[in-house]
Symmetry: C2
Subunit: 598 residues, 2 copies
């Protein structure tokens, strides 16, 4: 109790944060800006340092990132991503890609090293979820059509942030961009898919069960346990803790009580986010900022113009009118928390130059300070633009919009497209499950071999046992894939071979096509299983015998396995169904707003 | 991001805490018990230590105490304390006094040093607010008559905990118990009164204003700023941060939005409380526990029997029936968070022996584990007791209850007693305000003399200026005291001198009495002012002139000052009025339940 050095530092931070949030709320500026500035003021670099030892503050401010990513995950959810639509996803990918290219080129133009330019690219690519969604809420713009787009693009960007973090880590730890990026994305994808599927099967039920106790503190501590447990798991696999927290949030979001969880976690997120941003300010030496004000200003201009342009273009190309696109772009013309996370990553890995961190902060502060004005004068900017843009370009834009509108499937085609998508989705999920099983098998094989050798099991037997388990557990999924592809084949045959083309052969050709597709699927599945099991393939004889046994089992138990799969599918579907969990529509809007708390 | 040593430790702690809360909820045991036990399990003293560096965890677990005391303060409130009634306060003081005596005697009997015995006394004196109120909530006993008593005694104990903490610090830092205790209690009382009055005038308005923004995160960060600011203030004055947090909570509790504040702060409290209790476990070496199991068992027995007896006796003596008293006692037969706070204080001051901390933990764990069984079988225990107790004692108890019942003022007397109390309360508050002003004067004099000397103001002039300010600012309050005591004198005269006793002299005697009381008050006030201003008394000539000026000002401005005081009083009353803030009755029960979250 009397060793209050840390508590004193924290108390000072919270006191100035409280003052900052009040003052910046009155000034109608983002609170984040206030946190960073008071951080600089009380930091060790300014005369009369108030915070003596920023180390511990820095330590616990990292909790801010974990809780931030967790709540972002809570607001992201497979359901919401589906409702946002594929268009927004495409727009976000295009926009982030463009910004990455801008950033990298800018870094090269400034004469920075390759790795500095790479981190600059990552820093300018992602908008600030906190700032953008806060401004929507404060400007009472939440129900405008573009607000939905902003939230959608932000969610998609959050996912890409996780990918970028992981890729950057791998690149920074040595190796070429291309090869590493592919390997990392492959591993990452695997981790995410395995984590999501296992998590979705277990955790939402657990959370709902705990929520049934009716004790907020039990629910909170359990959810935090899940969040930090996922962080541990991700870290032990070599991924960032942010990824773990994000996945944990996305999984918990599928529980019926996710609204209550958001409510409980938000105060924690707000407190640690404040700490996080003050800690950013604490690290800043104003002299350093002054030194690099030139590049910072250039980068800030590139961010504001580039982001507005890239987002507007992405949104426009995926079929929205020019005004909506511009407003979406202007709302996202800033960088924020992710830039700090990226810069911190570079610094802690020791790969980027010293000036990257202060430049990142300076650019973010400049963009954040500009952001409210951009959003407030969006209408005027759009009007001004439309007067400046030459007439041919405008008519080109209009005809593009019309062409896109015509492309949309209508009536019967829309129904068939929906069926088609559903079949592909089912096949994808089942293949992902099979991959999961074999990956778990490979993992068990690689890590627990001492356990097996304890029982005198040699390498071959071990391989055979694990492979057999994976194969037999995959049977329901494999059968499901076969059945779905059968149905898909028939659908395709029906659609693809119209009577007017094939005439009298219609029926025969349809029949062949309907057979060929499941047959091809079978071959593809066999190849997949072999490829997956390369690490744990038993001796050839055993493998053959096991395959025969598997096929026999599949034939004999066909009905049972189909039923088993139906039950599994129902369990998963129950968790993901749009009208099942969360229930209240008001809850989901509430969750969207929550995205912007800081 | 990659330096995740601390996050890894924290993640492990939160993961096991989540598991513990689930398991112990199923076992119907207090979660605190689970936290402590898993803390021991993952601590550095057990084989296979999981938490590598408990230092940072320990650092931030201290936040648990701050937030705990803050929420206790939020649930305590002047209003609630008044509704609990003076009887409960008397019962709590009697009970804690008895337990302090038991604890000290036990320490001496065990052959411990004086200071060890003193800390033991403090450790066993206070029940666990978390455990007791949690059990009430879980056993659905909240609406039983004794539950109100338990909550009342717990609130009173919380206040005494603050006093004990401060007294123990002073005693431990050298000096005798008696002299130091008095000086500490005096300073403490002054700090509390000054803090409460200034706080009550400013902070509830500020909080309500901020709450009006309708942004939870702004409100939360502001309230945390207030809480930690009060901690800083208390620490800089030499008091514990716990006291600052408690006072901040008590002040914020008077705002209209205290319900929302409780809601926002609770998740933080729950998370840090979990950390706090796991950190307690982390510090425990099971070998040490085993070594001191004998004393721990003896102390645990004394706590359970002593607490039950002391609380039951206190409650019974203040006029409740035997069954209610026993149930109240059984609900409070445990020690908890305060014991750890006291033990930690002793350890960090370096004054107690090494074994105190593990003994405190062992005793608390034993008591907490026993507590649910005691509460659940309270009825059977009471029945058993009533069969064992000899008949004469029972009839004695009954006649005591009846006698007490007869003492209560009824009808006309009740109204007069209420008026009487109100006058005394007003006089007390006004005198407190006067004291506050002079204390601020003394503080300004002691700390800011460099500021004065800058302007070439010498010691005498400084004293004169400060004293004059304090005196003139006190005038409205002094006049108010005089007027109230005038009214009190008339009331007393009317009541005290009944016609049947004084006969024909009734009127004359009444007149004398009604004059004497305000006159005595004036003299007392003059003495008070002189005593208060001993540090800043100006030279005699100046003082006399100032007094004359003051009296003249009082006479001339009498009406204006009365009006000014009325306005001040209205401002304070508005903050404290029972039907003003908080408004909804359901809110206040909600706040009571909140007391028990962990």
């Amino acid at each position: 109790m009397h060793d209050i050095g840390f508590i004193r530092d924290l108390a000072i931070v919270m006191l100035v944060a409280g003052a900052a949030t009040l003052i910046f709320h009155r000034l109608r500026q983002p609170a984040l800006l206030g946190y960073i500035l008071v951080g600089v003021l009380i930091g060790p670099h300014t005369p009369g340092p108030l915070v003596a030892d920023p180390r511990t503050i820095n330590d616990i401010s990292n909790l801010g990132v974990v809780l931030l990513m967790f709540t972002l995950g809570l607001e992201f959810s497979v359901r919401k991503l589906r409702s946002v639509g594929a268009g927004v996803l495409v727009a976000a990918v295009a926009e982030v890609g463009l910004m990455l290219w801008f950033g990298y080129s800018l870094g090269e133009w400034l004469g920075w090293s390759r790795i500095d330019a790479l981190f600059l690219a990552a820093m300018v690519a992602l908008s600030s979820t906190m700032v953008a969604s806060r401004m929507l809420a404060e400007g009472k713009l939440r129900h405008q059509p573009f607000a939905r787009l902003v939230v959608g693009v932000l969610v998609a960007e959050d996912v890409m942030a996780v990918v970028l973090l992981t890729v950057l880590t791998a690149v920074a730890l040595g190796g070429t961009v291309a090869a590493d990026a592919i390997s990392v994305v492959w591993h990452l994808g695997l981790f995410v898919v395995v984590g999501l599927i296992l998590g979705l099967l277990l955790l939402p039920r657990l959370v709902d069960h705990v929520a049934g106790y009716g004790r907020d503190e039990v629910l909170l501590i359990c959810v935090l346990g899940i969040c930090f447990g996922a962080c541990l798991l991700a870290a032990s696999m070599g991924f960032s803790v942010a990824l773990g927290a994000f996945l944990a949030g996305a999984v918990v979001a599928e529980s019926r009580s996710s609204g209550r969880v958001v409510h409980l976690v938000e105060p924690l997120r707000d407190m640690f986010a404040a700490l996080f941003f003050v800690a950013i300010g604490l690290k800043i030496d104003p002299a350093m900022l002054y030194h690099y004000i030139g590049p910072a200003l250039i980068i800030a201009v590139v961010v504001v113009l580039g982001k507005t342009f890239a987002v507007s273009l992405g949104v426009f190309l995926t079929g929205h009118d020019a005004r909506t696109s511009m407003r979406t772009g202007l709302s996202m013309a800033q960088i924020g928390e992710f830039s700090f996370v990226m810069a911190t990553l570079g610094v802690s890995l020791g790969v980027v130059s010293d000036f990257i961190y202060p430049v990142a902060v300076a650019v973010s502060v400049l963009c954040m300070a500009m952001s409210p004005y951009l959003v407030r004068s969006a209408d005027r900017i759009v009007d001004g633009m439309s007067r400046v843009v030459p007439r041919p370009m405008r008519s080109l834009a209009r005809s593009y919009s019309e062409w896109l509108e015509n492309l949309r499937p209508v009536d019967e085609n829309a129904v068939i497209a929906a069926m088609f998508r559903r079949f592909l989705w089912h096949i994808g999920v089942n293949i992902a499950l099979v991959v999961t099983l074999f990956v778990i098998g490979a993992y068990v094989n690689a890590h627990n071999w001492r356990f097996f050798s304890q029982f005198g099991i040699d390498r071959d037997t071990r391989h055979s046992v694990i492979w057999a388990c994976a194969l037999f557990l995959s049977l329901p999924m494999l059968i499901a894939v076969y059945r779905k592809s059968d149905a898909l084949g028939m659908l395709l045959a029906e659609l693809g071979i119209r009577e007017r083309f094939a005439g009298q052969y219609t029926f025969a050709i349809r029949n062949v096509l309907a057979r060929i597709i499941p047959l091809l699927t079978l071959v593809a599945l066999a190849l997949l299983v072999v490829a997956l099991s390369s690490a744990i393939l038993p001796p050839r004889g055993v493998a053959l015998m096991l395959i025969v046994a598997g096929v026999l089992a599949a034939l004999v138990l066909w009905r049972g396995l189909v039923r088993l799969h139906a039950r599994l599918q129902a369990a998963l579907k129950d968790t993901l169904s749009p009208d099942g969990p969360t229930a209240l529509p008001s809850k989901s809007t509430e969750k969207q707003d929550g995205a912007g708390a800081s």
